[in-house]
């Protein structure tokens, strides 16, 4: 089992619905975000490229955050999902420093918070809240080990990229381009 996400940048409009859906679903406190939208613009008017990306923890295969955690609060669960146990986290910031995606943050209570791939929803057979809400249907979630999953199919059939591959983290969010 290897959960992953594919996001179609040709369809994403950057509306940020994934962000607010995550916030309500997971009761993320106001002023904090577990996911976000990046916009990149390249070129000179009118020869321009514009890309929107919905970003979050990449639930990497090679996890510097888990490696550098001194207490084991950051850990990997079934399906490769990277999670944090608040009761074990001392808030030292090591995992925050080690994440090339700046996907982690210190919650108001002090423990480190981040995207969970909505594992509580996956357990009920649902997609993560961000995927379920996306009005452009640009996000695909599923098991990479299952060749018939949505995510396996789009990755097999489309050109894709990952973010900061040079950081060597083997990220599991694929951007279809």
């Amino acid at each position: 089992m290897r959960y992953a996400m594919a996001i179609d940048t040709l369809k994403c409009v950057g509306c940020s619905d994934c962000v607010v859906a995550c916030q309500t679903e997971n009761n993320v406190p106001h002023g904090y975000a577990r996911d976000w939208i990046t916009e990149t613009v390249d070129g000179v008017y009118p020869s321009l490229e514009l890309e929107f990306r919905s970003e979050r923890c990449n639930h990497c295969d090679n996890t510097p955050c888990v490696r550098t955690c001194p207490t084991g609060a950051s850990h990997i669960i079934e399906g490769g999902i990277v999670k944090v146990t608040p009761g074990k986290c001392i808030g030292c910031g090591a995992c925050i420093q080690s994440c090339p995606y700046d996907a982690r943050f210190s919650s108001p209570e002090g423990w480190v918070d981040k995207c969970t791939f909505c594992d509580h929803r996956i357990a009920n057979g649902q997609d993560p809240a961000c995927v379920e809400v996306c009005p452009t249907h640009c996000m695909y979630f599923g098991d990479l080990d299952d060749k018939n999953s949505n995510v396996s199919k789009v990755i097999a059939n489309r050109k894709w990229k990952v973010l900061a591959p040079e950081a060597g983290t083997d990220p599991q969010i694929f951007y279809l381009i």
């Binding site: 950057g14 996911d35 939208i37 990046t38 550098t68 080690s98 090339p100 700046d102």
Partner: protein
């Protein structure tokens, strides 16, 4: 023109707009850790070399700085923790892949060792204690038997006396343990940062040795400053000059590595080369913190009279600023956006 921006309003505290999760506590902690490592390294080294009397400041007096530095450093570290009440979780597990875990355990080891080391030399360093002193008097009363004059004082508790005896009997072993732990501590202060390869500035193996050398240099400078013996001052002055040269060499290497590295590291180096850290790093760390005190020390060795406190203080302040600069600048460097 190229633009890359977060458009969903993300403003996570201490993460946005630029990462700043570590403030003054961590660089102070790293500095004090390095200082303690340096002081303990030389103390144990000259003890092992049987030069305790020749370099008595290094072996017996300067180590007093170590537990003080460690305690203040640990307080700083605790202040930095965002989920403080759970700090004990550090000691429920050993995680070899985590420098933070290494650090916690090394400190766990070196802190009592440093106390013991200081403790077994106390009677020699302070043969006479004055119970009428306001603060220290109370402290003395807590640990020693109250007696007239305060000469030839004894520990108040039997176990302390036993511990002292045990430590003195096994002093060589103790010295070896401290030597090993101090090297680990010194390297750890650098490895802590270089383990975070998400921060291009820190993502270099040179940081470990560089921080070790810098820590040793601050240790040597402290000994030099505290020492009353000209011979001892001269030795540590020489050691310090050597360390400064090595440190400069490492720093040059560090930047050569960056310039030969990927774009993100070239950009990191640019922070120090015309970027916002140029002044701090170039002036305070390299010139005032390394080159100038090095020159002063050479001049001193050649007969010019320069007060030993001047280069020592410059080295210490330079070392502190060095850690601040590296920690602050490192957090700015990133792969994305």
């Amino acid at each position: 023109m190229k633009e890359e921006l977060i458009v969903s309003g993300r403003m996570n505290l201490n993460i946005d707009p630029v990462l700043h999760i570590w403030h003054w506590q961590i660089p102070l902690y790293l500095f004090l850790g390095g200082l303690a490592a340096g002081v303990l390294f030389f103390a144990s080294l000259y003890s092992i070399r049987n030069e305790e009397e020749k370099y008595s400041t290094a072996v017996k007096i300067a180590p007093i700085l170590a537990p003080i530095a460690i305690i203040i450093g640990l307080i700083a570290l605790l202040l930095d923790l965002k989920h403080k009440l759970y700090f004990w979780q550090l000691y429920t597990t050993i995680r070899l892949s985590s420098p933070m875990s290494w650090g916690a355990w090394v400190l766990m080891a070196i802190t009592p060792l440093s106390f013991v080391w200081v403790g077994i030399h106390l009677k020699e360093v302070f043969p006479k204690i004055d119970f009428s002193q306001k603060f220290f008097g109370t402290l003395y009363k807590m640990f020693t038997k109250e007696q007239e004059g305060g000469v030839n004082w004894e520990w108040k508790f039997g176990w302390l006396t036993k511990l002292e005896k045990l430590a003195i009997e096994n002093k060589k072993m103790l010295a070896w343990a401290i030597l090993l732990a101090s090297v680990i501590l010194g390297v750890y202060t650098g490895i802590l940062l270089s383990a975070f390869n998400a921060r291009p500035l820190w993502n270099t193996a040179i940081l470990g040795p560089l921080f070790l050398v810098s820590g040793l240099s601050t240790g040597a400078a402290s000994i030099m400053w505290l020492s009353k013996s000209h011979e001892e001052q001269k030795l540590f002055s020489k050691i310090d000059i050597l360390l400064i040269v090595i440190e400069l060499f490492f720093i040059i290497h560090l930047f050569m590595g960056f310039m030969a590295g990927p774009q993100v590291q070239i950009e990191s180096a640019a922070l120090f080369w015309g970027g916002e850290f140029t002044l701090y790093f170039g002036l305070f760390v390299v010139i005032l913190g390394l080159i100038m005190p090095g020159i002063f020390e050479v001049m001193e060795l050649n007969g010019y009279h320069i007060h030993v406190a001047i280069p020592a203080l410059m080295i210490l302040v330079g070392g502190l600023i060095f850690r601040f600069v590296i920690v602050e600048a490192g957090q700015i460097t990133r792969y994305l956006y």
